[in-house]
Structure formats: C-alpha cells, structure tokens
Symmetry: none
Subunit: 235 residues, 4 copies
DNA sequence: TATGAATGAGCCTTCATTCAT
DNA sequence: GATGAATGAAGGCTCATTCAT
C-alpha cells in the first residue's frame, strides 16, 4: 500500500504499473499477483487504505466548541494543500477522475467525501444549536464550502497557481465570518485544536517536477492588479 | 477534432487511442499520423480547439449591467454542468488531471482558466464601479467563486451527485446576494442576457454508462436529512 | 543468440526483426523483450557473442614456427570464405556496413579486427625474429594482407564470384613466398596446424537463395580469358 | 538521382526513404512514384546512374605508358578514399551489402567491378607486352590488388581507421615495385596522368558525424608500435 | 504530370496476467 | 508463499504504395 502510494505520487496514476509498484517493494511483480487478483484489485485495496482512518481522526475535534471545530476543519483543509506535495494532490485528482469509470473507486470516494461532508454538516448543525452560527441550511453550506475547497485545490494544482488556494482561503474566512458566525462569535485565530494530519502521507520526497512556481504567478498578479487596480489589497 | 471529442467523452482520456479516434472517423489510423506528428500533437491541437472561442462568446455579455452579466455567468456555469453530458465533464477533468504532467495542457488550461477568471474579475470590477456591488477585492472573490464552481462540478461528476451542484448553486446565489450585491441591487431572476453555449459540444449521445443516478442520491438525501433533520428544506 | 544468427543469415540484417528472431525460437516476441531491453540491446549482445572466442582459438597456433602459423592463418581465412555459407558472409558484411552508424557495432568490430590484426602482426614479428621472414614492417604488411583478405571476401560474396577469392588466395601465397618468407623458408603445403573453426557457425542449412553461381562465372572466364589470352592458366 | 545520392550519403541506405529523397527535390513524394514504379525501381535507376561513366573516364589513361596508367589507377583509388566523405563510402558499402539480396544491384555492381577490373587487367597486360612489367597472370594480380583496395577501404570506413588505408597504400606501392615492375621500370612519383574524378560526387557537405578520428588511431599506433618495436618506420 | 491525402502492413515496445518451479 | 520467465493483446509510429483531383 505504501509502495503504491509512493509510486502513485512519483509517477502519477496513468503511469502506474504493477512493475513500478513492485519496484518499491521487497516483492517481485509475480508476488503482487499472488496477493491481488489484478491491478484493479490492488488499487481497490489501496483506495480503501488511502481513504480510511478519516473518521477516527475527525473525532479529535469532538467536544470542542463549533467555531473551534470549524476553524480546525478549514485550516486543516488548506494546510494539506500546502503540506502534501504536488505529487500527492495530482495523483489524488487522477484517482478522482477515474471514478466515473470505476464503480468501486466512486463508491470509496463517495464514502470518503461523505465522511468529510458529514463532519462539516455536523459542525454547522452543532454551531446552529449552540447559537454560535446563524441559522442556515448546513447541507447547502457544507456542499458550497466543500466544493470551494475542492475547487481551490484543483485549480491550484492543475494550473500550478498557489495564489488560487490562498485567495480561496481568504474568501472562505470572510464568508464564514459574515455568513456563518453570529456577530458575537469570532473566528479563532489561535486554534484550540488542530485536525490531526495523516502521518502515512509524510513527505516521500518523491514528487515529480513541480510544474507551478512563483515566477509564473507574476503574470497572474499583473493581470489581476490591472483589473482591480483601484482596490487596496489584491492579494 | 470532433471525433477526438467524441472518443474522449465516450472512452475517457486514459482509454483514448489513435485507433479509437480513427474509428469515429472515415479515416484510418495511418491518416491520423499523416496529419499529426504524434498522438500528443493531435491532443495539443485538440486542446486548443477545445478551449478556443471562449473569449468571443464572452463578449456577448458586454454592455449589460454588471449584475446581469454576473447572473449570466453563474447560470451559464451551472447550466453547463447540467447540459453537457457526464462524459464531457469527466473527460475534461481527466484532461485537467493530466496538466501537471503535460506542459502544454497546463498552459492551455491556464489560458482558458485565466480567460474565465478575467471575465469574472471584470464583471466584479465593473459592478463596484457602478455601485451595483459592494466594495471588495474582485480577485479574491473571483478565485473563491471559480473554485466553488469547479469544485461543485468535480464533486458532482466524480461522485455522481447532482445535488452537490444544486446546493452549490443555491449557496452561490445567496453568497452573491448578501456579499457581492449592494442592498439596492437584486439578482435578476429573468435574465436579460445568457452566455451563449458552445454548440460544438451539443450532446453527442455517446456517453458511456452514466454511473451516477437518482437512486443513489437517495442515500445522500437520507444521510443529509439525518444530519440536518431539524431543517426544513435540505435539498 | 543462435536464433538471431540464423535469422541474420537467412534474412539479412535489414530484414531482421524481433518477430523473425522469435520465430526461430520457442519463445514469443514478448519474451525477447523480457530478456533484452530493446532490439538494439539484443543485437549488442549478439555482436558480442558473435565476435567472442577468437582469442581463445588463436592460441591454438602458439608454439608453432612462424611460417606454420602464417600458413594456418591464411588457410583459415580463405577456408572460412568457402566453409561458411553465403548467408553468413553476407550478414557479416551488413553488420560491418552498419558500424559507421552504430557506435557499439563499430567498437566490437574494432576489437575483433584488432585481435585478428594483432595475431597477424605477432606472427610476422615472430618470423622476423626467427629469421624465417625477411625484415619488413609487420604492421604495414598486416594491414595490407588483412585488407586483401577482407576485400577478396567482400568481392566474392557481393558479386557472387568465387574466383575472386581463389585468385586472391593464389596471389597471397605468391606475395608471401616472395615478399615475406626468406629464400630458405618454404610455405608449408602440408599444414602442421590448422586454425580451429568456430563450430557455432556450422552450416545452418538456412541460407537464402545463393545468387551467384557457376554459370555466371562463365562470363568472367570469357572476359578474363580475353584480356589475358596469352597466359596459360588464368583461373 | 542527385537527391538520392545526397540522401544516401546523409542518412545511409537503411534510413533511405522515399520521403527523404523527395525532401531533397523540388518534387513531392507522390511524383516520385509517378516516375518510378517503386523505390526499388528508383534505386535501380540510381545504381545505374551511380556506376555509369567509369569507362568514359578510364579512357583518359589511354595512350600513356603502362606504369603511368597503373600509378594513376592506384593513386585514384586511394585518393577517393580520402576525397569522398565518410557518408559516401559508408553508403556505397551498404549498397554493396544489399547486392546478395538484390539481383539487379548485384548485376550492376558486377558490371562496375568488371569495368574496374578490366581496366586493371588491361594495364597489366599492356605492361607485360611493353616489358615494363614482369611476366605474370594479370587476372590474378588484378583480383588481388582490387581486393586489397576494396578491403582497405572497407576496413578504413567501417572501423574508422584511416591508417589502414595508408598502410595498404604503402604496401601496395612496394608490392607493385617489387612484384609487378621490372627492375628498370620505376613507379612514377610525378604522375603524368591522373584518373579524372567523378565530379558528380563533389562534397555534398552532408555527411553524417564522422565516427573515426585521429585520437582513436593512437591506440592502434601504440599497439602496433609495441608489436613491431624493433622496426624503424612503423607508419 | 504532379500532388496531397489516405491506407494497411508491419515494426518496436509495454504491460497485465499466467504459470511452472 | 514467492519468483522469474513467458505471453498476447494492444499501442504508437513508419513507410511504400495508391489514388482522386
């Protein structure tokens, strides 16, 4: 599983082969097929492994006030975009893109997404109950936010523009402060909890060449600054 | 190009082969290589073809009041999610997922995304100028919204959940109404303009088996309803 | 290796394909690529195999008097032209012709040629020392003779004229007797040693249609006889 | 024809394609096939073109004394090895290597070789008649010499060792002086005639990378010097 | 005549999968 | 359990040749 993860991050899904996985293992390719019926089967196990354990870590937030939990959730999401390498996110997206062609992938991704979504809905619901959050439809807010998170990451990594994540983060905070939190609640700048990261995905140092970069952002800055010149703090 | 598009929608990027493309043509595979140096070359041309023409269509909104333009933009985005088939969106996502491995893809996607973003920034800037929109940083709002759109679509198609798009649409409207529009501006329900669709991508009727579906949404409904049971209109 | 040799002799270098080689094997073409990274890699191994073992066989001459060694060398060279099939020599020539385009081929051929040349230089030097050969520059004589041998064979097989080899042999003997050997040394007609042949290249019986032939030689006879009519035994 | 020649020298026989030839022409590939039934047909015409015209040029020697003619012949042969580029000789050898597989090639090469041979036999015969040359079998000597010439060139270009040609030239002169010429005849150092070169093959400047080189010869020198250390003038 | 386009056979190579040991 | 070897299907690409215009 770990070897698969590494191969995935290093080469990407489309270049993932049984041999490449075996190469990161003590085993031979033949053994792989002794343990798994097929590459698809291996990948099925892998996806299970990959997406498991979220629930457990999510419980770390239990018992904290909703606004703390929400902040931890948001910070975690954007931290990951920064912490994990490009290889990780790129590979994950490839996996996602395969879902429509792969019943099982979709199912597992659905479970994973649902866990993520349930956590958020749960936090929002709890906040409404405690009065920390204004009354609203948590499902709708959750889908909006989750979409915004996913989309920010997708744009960040497919286009190689870290700014997109940063902007999304800023706007998310503002959205939460003005649309979710009640006036008397404040978004905690000093977090009381943090969502525990998945230490299985500690940097493998195995990323492929990172295709984005600061200098490329210049163009964005320029273009943006142009369009929004009369505004003080563009970025 | 059209054959490539069809093959892409039907089989997905990872199953796209010269033969599959040729099969949707009067030509032989050999002819493909007469016209294009390689499959990559063909794909390069295709991506250009695919993403071209946006600017021209975007001009259709010129001259209308910012709130009209914004509404048209939003409606267009979510309409496409509905109008184009699953195959289309799935294939586009696969293309996106290849971008980190393919300089050219990324470049073209970047151009395309930038055009999209510029349009939105332009609309927002114009709205601030006319006083239709509250003062804010258009770049940040644009990246947030674009991310939300992209993410909603990604979740919709990779998880097979149309609700996600719908929820995102609802929340987007609310976000725009309370965060972007000034109190005296209203989101136009009867659009004065609509963003013209790209008629090259009229339904090819060629989609692969649609893996999502209403019956699966049932589970979502249930799960959501559970978590948000005290709220009236979850979906 | 043997299959490669056979395919080479049968079809020639330019028609050598992985499939053709595999066909002369129990294996499938796929297996070839399991054992060799590429056709070039296979060919590299083959060339090594082909040209190896000369040194070992050359030692068989050690200890004999220089004139015996020289005779054995010469007889061996011309015997081979007769013993190995046309296919063999033709294929070897094609390999040679590839050398300028193929670093590795050239290197191996160079090694092989050098071994051949060193042997000859060694024999000549030894003969000068023992006084069996007149004093001369062995390097120059060796290159002259080796060239004459190579050229005779090339003419023989590319033009399909066995006579050319035979004439060259006769003239070579005369050259050696009058230019190399001292008056008191005689070219041994009954050889004390013979250079051992390479039994790996025993007739494969797999030759392609031999394009030369006796009837064609008729023309040669005629033409030659014409030009040299006053001489008794032209052929 | 000239385009074919250039393509041949530039890319070699095995990389010769109709397209490559057409590229060096004003014509399109299609036109090539209008004028020639097939690539083989074109090549047949080319070989005819290539090898024609020798007889005409050979006549330039007529009327001169045999020793002059012989010297002109020899010098011409070795001059060509120097004058024409590696590409030329390499390609010619490839053509030769194809002869056993190609009836027509062989026939044309045979004609060409025969013309070459007849010239030499003719010179030798004339010399014997005038008493400039010792009595010998001209056919045998011609085949020996021609073979030595061919072989020297083959070794020179396939192994990338110019020394081999030079040595062969030196030994050839010595052979001629002591074996062919009568004591009272001298090999003319200042040639009265020169064999006219074929100006169609003026340097095309189009050679592929020359694979031989002086620094490589060092190894040969060393090895040779070692074996022939007690001789004054090795090279 | 000339040509751009088209074609099909064939080549090298990759890879999931099988299997004897 | 494990593995090295083997395999066949498929993919990208090349090229001589054909053909409508």
């Amino acid at each position: 599983m770990q070897a698969t993860y590494e191969a995935l991050c290093a080469d990407g899904y489309s270049d993932l082969t049984a041999q490449r996985i075996a190469d990161r293992t003590e085993m031979s390719k033949g053994s792989l097929f002794y343990h798994y019926d097929s590459v698809d089967d291996l990948l099925a196990s892998f996806i299970e492994y990959l997406l498991a354990g979220y629930g457990h870590r999510a419980e770390a937030l239990d018992g904290f006030p909703p606004e703390e939990r929400l902040a931890a959730y948001v910070e975690w999401w954007f931290d990951i975009s920064t912490a994990e390498g490009t290889g990780h996110h790129t590979a994950m997206l490839e996996l996602r893109a395969q879902a429509p062609y792969n019943e099982l992938f979709q199912e597992k991704l659905r479970e994973s997404d649902e866990a993520l979504r349930d956590t958020l809905v749960d936090i929002l619901t709890a906040g409404i109950e405690t009065g920390a959050f204004v009354d609203h439809d948590p499902a709708i807010a959750a889908d909006f936010l989750l979409g915004a998170f996913v989309g920010a990451r997708v744009r960040h990594f497919t286009l190689g523009r870290a700014t997109y994540s940063e902007h999304a983060y800023e706007a998310t905070r503002e959205y939460i402060e003005t649309e979710i939190l009640t006036p008397e609640t404040t978004y905690p700048d000093e977090p009381a909890v943090t969502f525990p990261p998945d230490e299985r995905f500690a940097d493998t140092g195995d990323e492929h060449a990172v295709p984005s970069g600061a200098e490329q952002d210049d163009r964005t800055e320029a273009a943006t600054a142009d369009a929004a010149s009369e505004h003080e703090d563009t970025e």
